[in-house]
Structures are given as C-alpha cells and as structure tokens.
C-alpha cells in the first residue's frame, strides 16, 4: 500500500518539474545557510565555514540527481526526453525521415495486409459453435479415380443410420467444387425475375452447424422431404436488400421459380455457409425413397458434427468399416467405394493454403529487405552524427543511454511507418474486395480485426530491433572527438555492404519466384484450349418441369430456340451442350468400349449435344461426322468421341465404326456406334490433361437443363442481348443465367493463378526497387566520401571511362555476391512452390537467366548515377575542400 502511494506520487512528479526543482534548490540553499551559520558560530571564518559545509554535504549534483530519480519515474522521464529529441532530429532531416517511414510503411503494410488474408482464410475459426468438431465426408474410389467426391444419397442415409461417432450428419447440394452456389432460383412476382443464389439442404443442416437463426426458426428434419419443403430461410443480406429488413418477414410468401415458399427464418449477419454468396436456404425437397434407393448418382456434399469425445481418427476408422459393410451389401454400386473424413475448415482451405503460405513467406522476405534498407540509411547517417555522439559521451552519457536514445528514434520511425502501414493494409483490403473478390475463398471474411491490428503492432515494435540496434551500437561506439577529414569508417562500409548483399539476395529469391509464376502463366495461356473462345458466348437454361414435363418437350424447346438463335443477324452458329468447358460440372457414367480388355470404364465423361455444337464452340471434327437431323430417338444410337478416347482405347486406330455401350454390363444397354472423332478440347483447366469423352445427341437422350453456345461476328455483349430477346420471344418466363463470353470462362479458370502471380510480382518489384535503392545509397555515399581521392585521380590524368568503370565495379561487387547467394537461395526456396507451377521445373534456367538480367539492369542503373557523379567531379573544387 505504501509502495503504491509512493509510486503514484512519483508519477505525479513527472509534472510540474519546474516548481519542484525550485523547491529542491530552495531546500538545499537553506541547508547550506543553516550549516554555514553553525560553522561560523563555532568559530570558522566565512570561507572556511562554506568550504566545510560543502565538503560535508557531499556531491551536490549527485545528491540532486538521486533526489530527482526518486522524485519521479526516471524511465518515463528519459523516454520523454528521448522522444522529444527524436522528433526534433527527424524534423531536421525530413528527407531521411520520409524515405525511412515510407519504406517501413510499405513493408509493414504489405505484411499486415497479407496477414489479414491469412487470418481470414486459415486462422480464424469458422463462425459456428465448436467448429473443430465439424467434419466433411466425401467418397473415394480408386476405380473411378475419385479422391474426394460428392456422395450418393443412399450411402449418406446409411452412414447416418449406422454410425455412432457423429451427433448428426447433414447434406447439401447446389455448389461447385469451389463451393460457390450454382443453383439459381428466381424470385418472381414483382417486376423482373430476381436471381437468388441458393443451396438445397437437409432439414438438420442448421442443427449440425449449431447455427441459430436471428429471427424465426430453421428447418426441421421432416422438411428435408417433398411435401414439406416449401419453406425458406433467408440470409441476413437478402433480408436487408430484398425485404428492407422487414421485421414481419416471417410468414411472407415467396414465389420462387414458379413455386410458393414460406419464409420461416432469417440467419444472423455473420452466418455464412458454405460461402458468402448464398442468399437463400431451401430444403432438398426429395422423396424419402431418394435417400434409400439412389446409390448410383453422386451429388450430395456431406457435413457431420463429431460427438464430443470422439477423435477424427476414431471416426475415420468407424466410417471406413461402415463403407466396407456397404460394399459387401451392395457390390453392384459400392465396389471399392470408400470414405474420407477431413476437418471442415481444412477441407475448405486445402486449395488455397500453398499459395497463401508462399505469399506470406514472400512478404516476410520483403520486410527483411525493408529493414535492411532502413538500417543502411541509418548507418549512412551515423558518420554524420559522430560529432554529436562524441560530445554527448564527453558530457558523461553512458553507452547504454546513447543506444537507448537511438533506439527510441528508430521506434518513432517504426511507429510512424507502422501506423501508415495499417492504413495501407486497410486500403489494400478495400482494393482486394473490389478488384479480386474471387481470390478470397467464399467462407472467409476479410476484416482488419484486432488480431490483424495486434500483428501490425507486433512487427512495428520488433522492426526497430531489427534495423535499429545495429546502427545504434555502431553510432555509440566510444571514439574520441576528432576531426572528420577521413571518416569513411571501414567498419561501417563492410556492414553496409553486407546489408546490400542480403538485400540483393532476398530480392533475387523473390524475383526468381515471381519469374517462375509469370512464366507458368504465360505457358498456361499458350495452351491450345481445343475450341475457339473468341466471338462466342454461352448461357444456361433450365426448363421448369411444370411447363416442360418430359424429354420431348425439352428437345423440342431446345431445337426451337437453336433455330431462333441461328436466325439472328450476325450469328454464324448456335449449338447446345449439357456441359460447357471449365464450368466445374461434369457428367460421367459407366461405359464399356468394344474390344477393350480389362474391367469396364466407370468414369467416362458423357455429354449431350445438338448437332451444331462442335461448330459453334469451334472444336474441329477430325474424322467421320457430327450428329445430324437423321439421328433421332428411333434411329440407331450413335456417338461422337474425342481423340483422347480414341488414343486410350484404340491406340491410334480409327475409332469410327467401333462401338461403345453406355451403362454397366449388367444393364444390357444397346451398343452405340462411333460415327465421328473431334479434336481434344480442354475440359477442366488448361493445365489438366484431356480425359476421354463421348457425346450423344439430345434427340437420343435429353436433359431439362442445357447450355447454349452462340458464335457471331459482332460484339459479344450485343449477342447476349439479342439472345435474351430470342429466348424471351420463345417463352417469356425462361431466364438465361450464366451469360458470359467464352473468353471469360477461360479467363476465370486461371483467376487464382493470375491473382497470386500478380501479388508475387508486385512484391518482387518492390523488393528489387528497394534493393536497387540500397545499392545506390551505399555507392552514392562512398563516392561522396571519396570526392577528394577522385579529384586527385582526375587531376593526375585518370581516364574518365576507367574511373567510371572503377566506381561501377565498386558498386557492383556486393551485388554480384548477393546475386550468387540469392540464386542459391532461390534454388532451395522455389522447390517448395513446385505445386504452383505449370510447365516448368523450379530450377528453370530461362527464369533464372531472366532474373540475373533484370537484376543486372537494376543494379547497373543504380550504380550508374553515382558513377556519373564521380566522373563529373571537378578536381579543382574537390581538392580545395577541406
């Protein structure tokens, strides 16, 4: 208690220093007055009395210092002094301050921004209670090359029934492999139909997630099934935008794609599943038999919540055992069908993890470069401040005191840089959300939250330790106050050169990495997609069952629409297909190819098209024919295949005339004859090999949803508008979705690669610039120091080119060392990003050569400026200078 009181009074002593100082002086004066009086009374003379009193007192200044130390908190007082001094110093050197703060802001800001992304995607737990208990369950099958496939409904039902490790398992449908919603429902009833992104879920999904609604309720188990499924749960966003946050929205009726739904609940603002884009949750609405009988089609995403005491491994073991039992019970469908369990968060992040970690590492290297640069800047100033430090040491400042003051200065710079960096990070977030929203996975919310701010604070406080301690210790080295005629401290130069070597090495690593990614992207772009994306658009149509109850209606509609499209002006060709390339939705099935040995194919891509499809999409026919009007439901079954299929099964022999049977051997489907071969067209990505594929005419097998491809010679936007018109004329309630030029499909498929390449190239560019700046700084300083020597050389007749070369070599020496170190480091580091590359090995010689060239150019430019300055030295002026 006493201690606390003492400390509080001491804190108070930080203020009103002048008054207390006066009081202390008064007290000491009065002490001396009293003592001297006594001494005089004892018989001494005035001079003796004074001398005796002074001697007896001891050191006056020392006593005062002791007193002052106890009066307030010396630590804070010194800190205050140092801060004020640092601000004064920085204000007197605005150039240095500006460059240092800007550089730090860049480095710290980039790190903060990158961390905010990592925080949003990898670190922040999902917004559900106990999210680590959530598990994604997928099916595997080596026969079909499945490693994590969507699940067959009957398997899901059996898992649910037979397991004891999960509290419950739920399922949902309507997302693609990136978990973006692909199911669109159309809100009609007021003006134009509004497209809503939706997913279809089992009634227990919200229960499994543990998510409570904001208002209303969530689904019940019963509502999974048909007859009870006309209920809807809205997302918070939809509630705000579409219903203006109407408090009475519960119970309102919505007309969705022709059916009436009751709104039963609204989710809270921070609820997101599985991605931010989902606006409305609807029940699966299937017949109970669906879950018991459908064991062949796979379409459900499954998520389960483990019981509290069960570990993931235990669950894996039991589910594998269940899968094996199902295999035995249903050999026709479940042979080799296994299960795979992954933590839900892990499942969501596997794809983005490698790239994010790479970018985080890159940005950390950038920070090191930034700190090196600022350290170099400070060392450059250290020589200029030698005199100041010398005086302070002579006046009695301890080494620690000087280091402390210099570190405070570094901290002030770092704080300014860090604050600016935080603002930069906020700007980066806004830019990212606007320009590349797809780069952030759907479930992640990019926020500058308190962890990001904490991270920013942490590196802001650690940075001065990195770039400040060295120069502080160097600057406070005990040295006599001497004349600064020859102050190019050799030691300083060595350290600065070492820093340059480090900077150059680190930036080479970044440039090499960026180079590899850029080359990968270029190689990717050069890949022939196998179709012609220019001047063509695609769009999706779904024929509602109410108006198009069976296949014939759909076929007729498709043909009619195709004719209308073809009749439009500027249209060269129009065709339709069940799957457009690069859309992430594929249809596969079992098939037997005549004459092939071994087991039947269990995963053959099989799509439905109209005769003009290949012409419309631009895939050349290599042999035989495409479908024509004679291929009808009654004519013999025919099929067209791609080169990959011909290569795989016929090894180069002509496939035309050979036969394929779609379906399993036990189904005894009729044989289909191959009548045509088309060139290979990329299906899932420019970097994925083409799989064997077969096509059937829609007249022989139809679907109620289809994609149209339209090729014209005009603006694709115009094509889109006209297409909408045409379809509307045919049936005004049909809505076109996913209308996009084919070039967009190609472009979007590589958007992830493009994003990370752009970022890494940006970092590498900044790094190279900073390294070049560092090289320039050291060399410029050295030239300035050696002006007299250079003057002498010129006066003695040194050739200017030779002098230029000498200076240039002096500057490039650390660069060369750094480059060698950097290339070695790059060779080691880039091995880790192998998975992100396409068409290259990490040790790609072209990229490394290019890196060396870029570095040389940058370094040469950086060194050229001081070299030019050197040869322009006027010997008369420099020799006169003292």
């Amino acid at each position: 208690m006493r201690l606390l009181r003492a400390w509080l009074i001491r804190f108070g002593g930080l203020f009103s220093r002048q008054r207390r100082e006066r009081e202390l002086n008064d007290e000491i004066e009065s002490h001396f007055a009293l003592h001297i009086e006594d001494n005089i009374r004892a018989g001494m003379s005035l001079a003796e009395a004074r001398r005796a009193a002074i001697l007896k007192f001891g050191g006056v200044e020392a006593a005062k210092e002791s007193y002052r130390d106890r009066r307030s908190v010396p630590f804070l007082e010194i800190l205050g002094q140092d801060l004020r001094y640092a601000m004064r110093t920085l204000r007197k050197n605005p150039g240095f301050a500006a460059v240092a703060i800007a550089t730090l802001a860049l480095g710290i800001g980039a790190n903060t921004a990158m961390f905010s992304v990592v925080q949003a995607v990898l670190l922040r737990p999902l917004p559900y209670p106990q999210p680590d208990r959530l598990v994604e369950i997928t099916e595997t099958n080596p026969l079909k090359r499945w490693t994590h496939n969507v699940v067959a409904p009957a398997n899901y039902a059996d898992w649910r029934r037979m397991n004891t490790v999960f509290r419950d398992i739920a399922a949902y449908a309507g997302v693609d492999d990136k978990r973006a919603s692909i199911f669109d429902f159309f809100l009609t009833g007021s003006g134009d139909p509004q497209r809503l992104r939706s997913i279809l879920v089992t009634g227990n999904l919200f229960d499994v997630l543990g998510a409570a609604p904001l208002t209303g309720r969530v689904f019940t188990d019963q509502e999974t099934f048909g007859g009870h499924e006309r209920v809807a749960v809205l997302s918070y966003g939809l509630w705000q935008t579409q219903f203006a946050g109407d408090p009475h929205v519960i119970g309102r009726k919505l007309l969705l794609s022709g059916k009436t739904y009751d709104v039963v609940g609204v989710m809270p603002r921070d609820f997101v599943f599985p991605g931010r884009d989902v606006q409305i949750y609807l029940p699966l609405g299937v017949q109970p038999a669906f879950f018991v009988q459908m064991r062949r089609p796979h379409m459900l995403n499954v998520i389960g919540r483990l019981k509290p005491s069960v570990s993931l491994d235990e669950a894996r073991a039991q589910m594998s055992a269940i899968a094996r039992r199902l295999e035995q019970t249903y050999p026709a469908t479940n042979t080799k069908m296994g299960v795979r369990l992954d933590g839900f968060h892990t499942a969501l992040t596997t794809e983005s993890r490698p790239a994010l970690l790479m970018l985080l590492a890159a940005v950390a290297l950038l920070l090191l470069i930034v700190c090196s640069n600022v350290a170099n800047l400070q060392l450059g100033r250290a020589a200029a401040r030698e005199r100041e430090m010398g005086i302070r040491r002579a006046l009695g400042a301890g080494r620690f005191r000087l280091v402390r003051q210099l570190l405070t200065e570094s901290t002030v710079i770092a704080l300014a840089g860090g604050a600016l960096g935080l603002i930069l990070a906020m700007a980066a977030r806004a830019a990212l959300l606007r320009l590349a929203p797809a780069a952030i996975p759907g479930f992640a919310e990019l926020r500058i939250d308190r962890w990001v701010i904490l991270f920013n604070g942490l590196i802001t406080l650690c940075a001065p330790l990195l770039f400040g301690i060295g120069p502080a210790i160097a600057a406070s080295r005990p040295d006599t106050l001497r004349d600064r005629s020859e102050s190019d401290s050799h030691r300083h130069r060595v350290v600065r050169d070492l820093l340059v070597i480090c900077e150059v090495a680190l930036s080479v690593v970044l440039v090499a990495g960026a180079g590899l990614l850029v080359r990968s992207l270029i190689l990717l772009d050069r890949v022939d997609p196998g179709f012609r994306p220019e001047n063509a658009i695609g769009f999706h149509l779904r024929f509602p069952q109410t108006r198009y109850p069976d296949d014939d209606h759909c076929i007729a509609a498709i043909q009619s629409i195709e004719n209308r499209l073809r009749a439009m002006p500027h249209v060269h060709a129009a065709g339709a297909t069940s799957s457009l390339p690069f859309q992430g939705q594929i249809y596969t099935g079992d098939a037997t190819v005549e004459g092939s040995t071994g087991d039947y194919e269990r995963e053959l891509r099989h799509d439905l098209i109209t005769p003009e499809y290949f012409h419309a999409v631009g895939t050349p026919l290599l042999g035989g024919r495409s479908f024509n009007e004679f291929d009808t439901a009654k004519s013999p079954s025919v099929t067209v295949v791609n080169e990959a299929l011909a290569r795989t099964y016929f090894h180069g022999a002509d496939p035309i005339g050979r036969r394929i049977r779609f379906g399993r051997p036990s189904d005894h489907d009729p044989w289909t004859t191959i009548v045509g071969v088309v060139a290979d067209a990329k299906q899932d990505g420019l970097d994925v090999a083409v799989q064997p594929e077969a096509w059937t005419a829609i007249t022989q097998q139809a679907n109620n949803e289809i994609n149209f491809v339209l090729r014209g010679d005009g603006d694709t936007a115009v094509l889109a508008v006209e297409a909408r018109h045409s379809v509307r004329e045919f049936d005004k309630d049909l809505v076109l979705t996913a209308v996009a030029p084919l070039t967009d499909l190609l472009h979007d498929a590589a958007s992830d690669q493009r994003f990370r390449t752009t970022l890494l190239t940006g970092f590498a560019g900044i790094a190279l610039f900073l390294a070049a700046l560092g090289v320039y700084g050291v060399l410029a300083y050295s030239v300035a120091q050696r002006t007299k020597e250079i003057g002498v050389r010129i006066a003695l007749g040194a050739g200017l080119p030779r002098l230029f070369g000498m200076v240039l070599r002096d500057g490039l020496r650390p660069v060369a060392a750094g480059a060698v170190l950097g290339l070695a480091g790059a060779w080691l580091a880039t091995g880790m990003i192998r998975s992100l590359l396409f068409g290259l090995v990490p040790a790609d010689p072209v990229t490394y050569a290019f890196t060396v060239v870029i570095l040389s150019v940058a370094a040469a430019c950086a060194c050229a400026i001081p070299a030019v300055k050197a040869i322009r030295v006027d010997p008369v002026v420099s020799l006169r200078e003292q």
Partner: protein, 114 residues
C-alpha cells in the same frame, strides 16, 4: 582511528524517524546533525544523502513536510512524523531488537566456551 561505517538506506530511514520522534519537527540539516551526534560520530554521513531518503519517507507517508522558520529566522523545510510514521518506527525498532537478540545468542556461546 575510529571506524566510520557506511549507512544503509533502511537504517538511515529508521534513524530519521527516531530522530523526529525524540526531537519533534526538524529541518533536514538539523536531522542530519542530530543523527551524527547520536551515533557518537561513528557514522560518516554525507549530508546530501539525507534528502533522497527524506523524499522517500515523505512519498510513503511516514513523514510530512512544511516550510517554516528556524530559530535564527531562516526559512527552512521542516519534517514531522505522521501517525503512520510513528507506528512504522515502533515496528521497525522492535524488529531490530529481535534481530540483535537472536544474533546475540549465536555469538555469546562461542565466547563462553573460549
């Protein structure tokens, strides 16, 4: 020659408190003089070291200060013992007596034997 021992801060504080108790309010010079006298000149105290000690005692609330006038009409800062200071002095004095008593027992038997 007589031994002049160093003074610890803690014992100095106790001596200040005791001095103020027996002498009543006193200024810094007076306290220092009195301490030297009481120790019979065995203590060599630099008078300057007293002031930080006085400040500490004041911050802890054991003494209070006020400007006043000395016998010879000189302005001086006088210090006075507070109630807490009196209690502290008594408890500290008790502790010292206990410590000395215990040590005495340790040292005595050796003397007896020899």
């Amino acid at each position: 020659m007589e031994n002049k021992a160093d003074v610890w801060q803690g014992t100095l504080a106790l001596m200040v408190l005791k001095t103020l108790e027996s002498m009543g309010p006193l200024h810094g010079y007076g306290i220092a003089r009195r301490i030297e006298q009481t120790s019979g000149d065995r203590l060599a105290v630099n008078y300057g070291t007293l002031y930080p000690a006085l400040l500490k005692l004041e911050q802890e609330g054991y003494i209070s200060s006020a400007w006043g006038v000395s016998d010879n009409n000189r302005k001086a800062k006088f210090y006075e013992l507070t109630r807490a200071g009196r209690k502290k002095m008594q408890s500290e004095a008790r502790q010292w007596e206990q410590t000395t008593a215990i040590l005495a027992r340790f040292l005595e038997p050796a003397k007896e034997r020899s």
